[in-house]
């Protein structure tokens, strides 16, 4: 019976730093960092707006010209357009010339250059947020493979009980629980707000942790939901999706990929899907397309202008020449996005998210009043496989870094394999429960089935007739289940023959082993690299998390691995030497981006003037 909670209420914190203090500090830190992130997003938006605005003007001019053919537009409209262009050029000129122009003209010019792009970006951001709110952030792919916990199974009942308890302790509505059948141990909180939050837990997690540790792990997730992390994650994802959407819009005239992405968004936003699950999956797929679009990947526009791949022709050259400004704009946008996200946005966001993790840890201690549970859970999870397919899409929502392991495999296929094997083993069991195979194997505990099989086969080879009969029964069941003739599967005599070097037997054995190892490798946990190696990672290192928990009273043994002073000095000197070069490189990149922007602007202006003149000639004739 767990009565630890009622006593802990009275005890209060034992640590050197109370969890209230830890929460307060981390909360303040996240406020500061989110200000930095918002600033970074705004700074990132400036070149974007600067690049998008001319395209908007160009489109507007084109439309106006087209309308002008049939319905002559009033002269005052063209007059206003001219004035706008004048202000814009004044603002641009003041960039290159040091003599300050009329400040009022400068402000208007800046507004003319920035406002349309900024407004478009914000509208798109709001649209993206509204669109994906229905589907929930990130974890939609995860939820697809999950099922609800079974309340008549002790461990799974315990899971839902613990989540309920933590929700009560946090004073939030209890999140829905989804269970994934995989031996990897990890858990995540997904959703957009406390009201639609879901907690995804793997079977491996509840198998490996005891009740206290489970409580600590789930308290972290519930606390994270209660602290509003989901909303933050959702907004941040929205920023990247907006960048992707803008790029897709610019690319749309040039290629099928961007058009397909746009078409999927339009279709999804208008129709949606009948089933909530399919809808969530579609949303996740679309969001994935958008975020990948914002990354530096080759896309339609590169194919479009890639003349070496296709045969050259005069027409193509003319077309390329005509569309060159847009290509330049696209490239400038991508470069600036990449530059700013790499240098400012991503590091500050990673830092912010790590602080949110510490905050959730401290809040978890407030909920459980038991820092040891969480500390032990983190330590255990760090030593096991924790990668979950579908988790790569929203890795930041997890309790521990799901990318810690190098192997990614499909848990559904894996679980199916495992279930099949376990079923074969149990179904082939003699009806009169023989003492040899022990109690009926539980389908859920795949590792025990595997060890059972291996033990029995060893006994059979050693000459135990009971074990041999058991293995033969299993062989028959496997042949039935796989739909293969019995003789294709390795025989007991094969083992003996293989030991004597019979090639056919060895081949048959290795084929069978390959099939089984595909199933059993899941059971062998692979120790993975520490995530602390990743400088800009979204997860604090285990050591730091444990140290903070230790300060709040957890009994953890921290290896006092003091960094050698020589190493510190070396790094300091190295960074002092390298810093000017890095700064120089950054400055050069910024300059390049600026030049690209200006060049694309100039090209676009010339191009539009040319087209406009053509239209005018056409109209006047």
């Amino acid at each position: 019976m767990a009565t630890q909670s009622s006593s802990a209420v009275i005890d209060g914190p034992r640590g050197r730093q109370s969890f209230f203090e830890a929460q307060r500090r981390n909360r303040h830190a996240t406020w500061r960092l989110s200000t930095v992130c918002v600033l970074a997003a705004v700074v990132m938006g400036i070149p974007l707006a600067l690049a998008v605005t001319p395209l908007l003007y160009a489109a507007a001019l084109l439309i106006a010209d087209l309308i002008n053919i049939w319905v002559p537009l009033p002269a005052s409209l063209w007059q206003h357009a001219n004035e706008l262009a004048h202000y814009g050029s004044v603002a641009l000129a003041s960039l290159t010339q040091s003599n300050a122009a009329n400040p009022q003209a400068l402000v208007i010019g800046a507004a003319v250059l920035l406002l349309p792009g900024a407004v478009l970006s914000i509208v798109l951001w709001l649209g993206v947020n509204a669109l994906f709110r229905r589907a929930g952030a990130g974890g939609a792919l995860l939820a697809l493979q999950a099922r609800e916990p079974n309340p008549s199974e002790l461990k799974e009942l315990q899971l839902s009980d613990v989540v309920q308890e933590m929700a009560i302790a946090a004073g939030i509505p209890a999140p829905k629980i989804m269970l994934i059948d995989t031996s990897a141990a990890n858990a995540a909180a997904i959703g957009t707000s406390p009201n639609d939050a879901r907690i995804v837990v793997t079977r491996g997690l509840i198998d490996q942790l005891n009740r206290d540790e489970l409580e600590g792990a789930l308290a972290h997730l519930v606390a994270s939901i209660g602290n509003g992390d989901l909303r933050i994650a959702f907004r941040v994802a929205g920023v990247f999706e907006t960048y992707g959407l803008l790029l897709a819009l610019i690319n749309a005239p040039f290629g099928p990929r961007a058009r397909r992405t746009l078409w999927r968004i339009v279709r999804y936003s208008l129709i949606g899907k009948k089933h909530a699950e399919a809808s969530a999956a579609e949303a996740a797929a679309v969001a994935d397309l958008l975020t990948r679009g914002a990354a530096m990947e080759t896309d339609d526009i590169d194919d479009f202008f890639n003349t070496t791949a296709r045969r050259k022709s005069v027409l193509r050259s003319i077309r390329n020449f005509l569309f060159f400004p847009i290509f330049l704009t696209n490239f400038a946008i991508k470069l600036s996005l990449w530059f700013f996200s790499f240098s400012i946005l991503e590091p500050s966001m990673a830092l912010l998210w790590r602080k949110r993790k510490y905050l959730a840890d401290a809040s978890a201690v407030q909920l459980t009043r038991n820092p040891d549970g969480l500390a032990e859970a983190l330590r255990k999870l760090n030593d096991t496989r924790r990668a979950i397919p579908g988790g790569a899409w929203a890795p930041h929502l997890f309790l521990v870094n799901p990318a810690g392991s190098d192997r990614m495999d499909d848990p559904r296929a894996n679980a199916l394999h495992q279930q099949m094997l376990a079923q074969m083993w149990t179904s082939s069991q003699p009806a009169s429960g023989s003492a040899l195979s022990g109690p009926p194997s539980n389908l859920a505990s795949f590792p025990s089935v595997m060890s059972d099989i291996f033990a029995t086969s060893r006994q059979a080879i050693a000459g135990d007739p009971n074990a041999a009969a058991r293995m033969m029964a299993f062989r028959q069941a496997a042949a039935d289940a796989l739909g293969k003739p019995v003789n294709d599967l390795p025989n007991l005599s094969d083992f003996a023959a293989a030991q004597n070097g019979d090639k056919a037997s060895i081949q048959r054995l290795s084929a069978f082993r390959k099939q089984i190892s595909a199933d059993s490798s899941d059971a062998n946990s692979t120790r993975s690299a520490d995530s602390s190696l990743n400088f800009a990672g979204f997860f604090p290192s285990l050591k730091r998390r444990l140290r903070r928990l230790d300060r709040m009273g957890a009994h953890v043994e921290l290896e006092s691995a003091r960094v050698k002073p020589a190493a510190v000095i070396f790094i300091a000197v190295l960074s002092l030497v390298l810093a000017p070069f890095a700064l120089l490189a950054l400055g050069l990149l910024l300059l390049l981006i600026g030049i690209l922007m200006l060049a694309s602007l100039a090209f676009l202006a010339v191009w539009m003037a040319f087209i406009h003149q053509l239209f005018l000639m056409f109209v006047h004739r």
């Binding site: 009565t3 009942l157 009980d161 613990v162 009560i168 004073g171």
Partner: protein, 187 residues
């Protein structure tokens, strides 16, 4: 000039009014949270009352010799249910008596290995453990909310207005003496 000073005075007054409203609203919100946390405890106590008859029914067959222990639980439950309309102190007394009877039942049940092996009993025990935890966590949440509420009232600038608006500190939920005695069993 008087125009300008009028605007300044108006702005200051508006700021003051807005901050009054903000302070008042935040205190009201905190008080609501405290009340909500208090009613959450009731919900969990009610849940325990509903669960106990099931538990007693399912272990009765195995524990025929422990009539008195089972009767004590049933009786304590009846008293706790009856006290639901009464005073807070009376309720706390009855509920902690029920907690004591339940932990006694589990201590006795430990002596019946065949009982521990039954899966349905294990599930039930888990449910009861969870119910006890839920009550404890609901109290803890209540106390946390009370602390937030009281801290808000005691710190600047809200302390200037808390009494003015008619707010008074809420009372923490202290454990009963009998419960404390239960918890401090030498290990």
């Amino acid at each position: 000039m008087s125009n300008l000073s009028l605007i300044v005075v108006g702005l200051v007054a508006a700021t003051l009014l807005l901050s009054f409203i903000a302070i008042f609203n935040s205190l009201v919100a905190l008080r609501l949270r405290v009340q909500n946390a208090w009613s959450d405890i009731d919900v969990q106590l009610k849940r325990r009352h509903d669960l106990i008859p099931n538990l007693v029914a399912s272990v009765q067959g195995y524990m025929a010799h422990e009539r008195s222990t089972l009767d004590a639980v049933t009786e304590a439950r009846a008293k706790a249910v009856a006290s639901a309309g009464g005073t807070v102190a009376g309720r706390a007394q009855a509920e902690s008596a029920l907690s004591g009877a339940l932990s006694n039942l589990f201590a006795v049940a430990e002596q019946y290995p065949q009982l521990r092996a039954v899966e349905s009993v294990q599930l039930l025990q888990e449910q009861l453990t969870s119910t006890e935890n839920r009550i404890a966590f609901a109290r803890q949440h209540y106390n946390d909310e009370v602390m937030k509420f009281n801290t808000a009232q005691a710190t600047f600038p809200r302390n200037l207005f808390a009494a003015l608006f008619g707010f008074s500190p809420a009372v923490m939920f202290a454990a009963q003496e009998s419960e404390r005695a239960n918890v401090n069993v030498p290990i």
